[in-house]
């Protein structure tokens, strides 16, 4: 009797929490299809704001920039992060300095890394632009790639490496023909995660991109637009960004079961 009442209470809590989590996002997505564009009145379904968005040159350029930053930083961090993961796992002796170094990018507050890099670049007189954003993004991206690949390596059967070496394969051949194929799903998932993180990242990009309009990324563009209030254009852009995150998340889940938190 009491158990049933508890169960109903639990269902109620779940319902409230999920409503809290999903109503704001759902309202936003719904509004992006509202012909009138304003939140207070529904004036019919329309895709016209989507059309308007794709005619906005600023947004298209920002999206292009974000794509460049995301792809290049994901590529670099996937290579560096994977090598790092393999190196750390092979190493018998656990170096705590190294572990701290790998863990640090995930816990340092974004704002601190952002101002540190801004000071660093300006002291060295490095011109700011997309290239500096890429250098900065690789820092935290490689930590996440490394974490995903290491998770996979925990269940890795090292005896196949021994077998490969016993059969006369060189270290490089073993790496290329034995280790990498087994790790491939985790590496791709890590790369995808890095790409998503980089595409969504705002604070560090904001500080390291410099002042010129040519290096504005999509999150910087969104931040600038949001500060001026609610517009139909942002609703559409926000909806597309949410959709994009869902697609990449679904992809990486398919590729690497158990590699992401929440599974």
């Amino acid at each position: 009797m009491a158990d049933r009442r508890t169960f109903r209470l639990m269902l109620l809590i779940l319902g409230l929490v999920f409503a809290f989590l999903y109503i704001p996002i759902s309202v936003l997505v719904g509004l992006s299809f509202n012909a009138g564009g304003m939140p207070t009145a529904w004036t019919g379904f329309s895709l016209k704001w989507y059309g308007a968005l794709f005619a906005n040159q600023d947004i298209l350029r920002a999206a292009g920039n974000t794509l460049i930053v995301g792809l290049v930083s994901a590529a670099i961090s996937t290579v560096l992060g994977t090598l790092l993961a393999i190196g750390v796992e092979i190493r018998r002796r656990k170096g705590s300095v190294l572990e701290t170094l790998i863990f640090a990018p995930m816990v340092i507050p974004d704002i601190v890394l952002a101002i540190a890099l801004l000071s660093f670049f300006s002291l060295l007189d490095v011109r700011l632009g997309l290239h500096t954003v890429i250098m900065a993004h690789v820092v935290f991206n490689l930590a996440y790639v490394c974490a995903v690949v290491r998770a996979r390596l925990k269940s890795f059967d090292w005896s196949i490496v021994e077998a490969s070496t016993d059969l006369g394969a060189s270290t490089l051949t073993t790496l290329r023909r034995v280790v990498l194929p087994v790790l491939a799903p985790a590496i791709i998932a890590g790369g995808l995660l890095a790409f998503t993180l980089s595409v969504d990242e705002f604070i560090i990009a904001f500080f390291t991109a410099g002042a010129q309009r040519a290096s504005i990324t999509l999150p910087m563009q969104i931040y600038g637009m949001i500060r001026f209030g609610v517009t139909p254009e942002i609703n559409v852009l926000a909806t597309l960004v949410i959709g994009f995150s869902l697609v990449t998340l679904a992809l990486s889940q398919r590729l690497n079961r158990g590699g992401l938190p929440g599974q």
Partner: protein, 288 residues
């Protein structure tokens, strides 16, 4: 031998992290001890002035307010997150992974977009005002956006999935026989929860609390967007020193204090967890 081979694998990432994380962080640590130049540059003259400024009443107040808001957000997120995690853990086992997945899912969408969603709901021509009007309420509604409450709400919303994830782990490993034993010994449902389940599963929430607190206290996006232009937290103060006020040494000192607060909390938590886990082993399910 082994070490020399792995060095080649580790070196590139090590070099990258050193160049673009360690050195820049050491740089601002050093900057924090220099004096601000007259024209906004840096005078290379050693001083503790910047750290003294942090305790200036004007800035100390911002620090305290940031800590208050971050603490409130962390507390609310912990309570709600624990309740949600508890509810998920009490559902049939085969449904739990999906529920957990959907609780975390919003976390994977863009932070700015999630914050913007609340501007849509809370602003003067927003949905909540619209619904109130539609229900026949035509008095003056209190300002919702650009308030302290909106900032706390935004932080709770953004970081709640974190706590759910952190709190779920110990709850899902909990051995149901312990609760049974407690009931067999005559404890009621509430007593069992308060005296048995809560103490065992609290470390998970503590982790969540500290993460929400740390992420909130240095946040500058949520205060800027939901708190309005005048609203200042430490994050906004650091931001201003670097992008508008041009006092880099003071900005560096502020962020060092931020890091110090964070390190102290994380160390405390690690210590508390190690302490708690000594007595915990036996209470967990053998297969968990």
């Amino acid at each position: 031998m082994q070490d020399r081979k792995t060095l080649i694998l580790i070196a590139p990432a090590f070099a990258w992290l050193t160049a673009f994380m360690v050195v820049p962080c050491l740089l601002i640590l050093a900057l924090a001890f220099f004096r601000r130049g007259i024209y906004g540059g840096i005078d290379y003259e050693f001083t503790f002035e910047n750290f003294g400024m942090v305790f200036d009443p004007l800035y100390a107040r911002i620090f305290l307010k940031s800590a208050w808001i971050a603490g409130l957000a962390a507390l609310i997120a912990s309570v709600v997150g624990y309740a949600a995690a508890y509810a998920i853990a009490s559902m049939p086992r085969h449904r739990q992974p999906a529920l957990l997945f959907f609780a975390i899912l919003p976390f994977w969408s863009n932070y700015l977009v999630r914050t913007y969603a609340w501007i849509v709901l809370l602003n003067r021509e927003g949905l909540i005002v619209g619904i109130a009007r539609a229900l026949g309420f035509d008095g003056e509604l209190p300002q919702m956006l650009y308030t302290e409450g909106a900032v706390v709400l935004g932080l709770v919303y953004n970081y709640l999935p974190f706590v759910i994830l952190a709190a779920y782990a110990p709850l899902s490993r909990l051995n149901p026989e312990i609760a049974e034993a407690s009931r067999d010994l005559g404890a009621g449902g509430w007593t069992t929860f308060r005296r048995v389940i809560l103490p065992i599963t609290l470390p998970g929430v503590a982790t969540g609390f500290i993460f929400v607190f740390v992420l909130s206290i240095g946040n500058f996006v949520t205060p800027a967007l939901l708190g309005g232009g005048q609203f200042q937290m430490i994050g906004n103060l650091v931001y201003a020193q670097f992008l508008t006020a041009n006092d880099w040494p003071f900005g560096s000192a502020l962020s060092m204090v931020l890091i110090a607060v964070m390190l102290v909390l994380l160390t405390l938590q690690t210590y508390a967890n190690e302490h708690a886990s000594t007595g915990r082993q036996s209470t967990e399910r053998a297969d968990g």
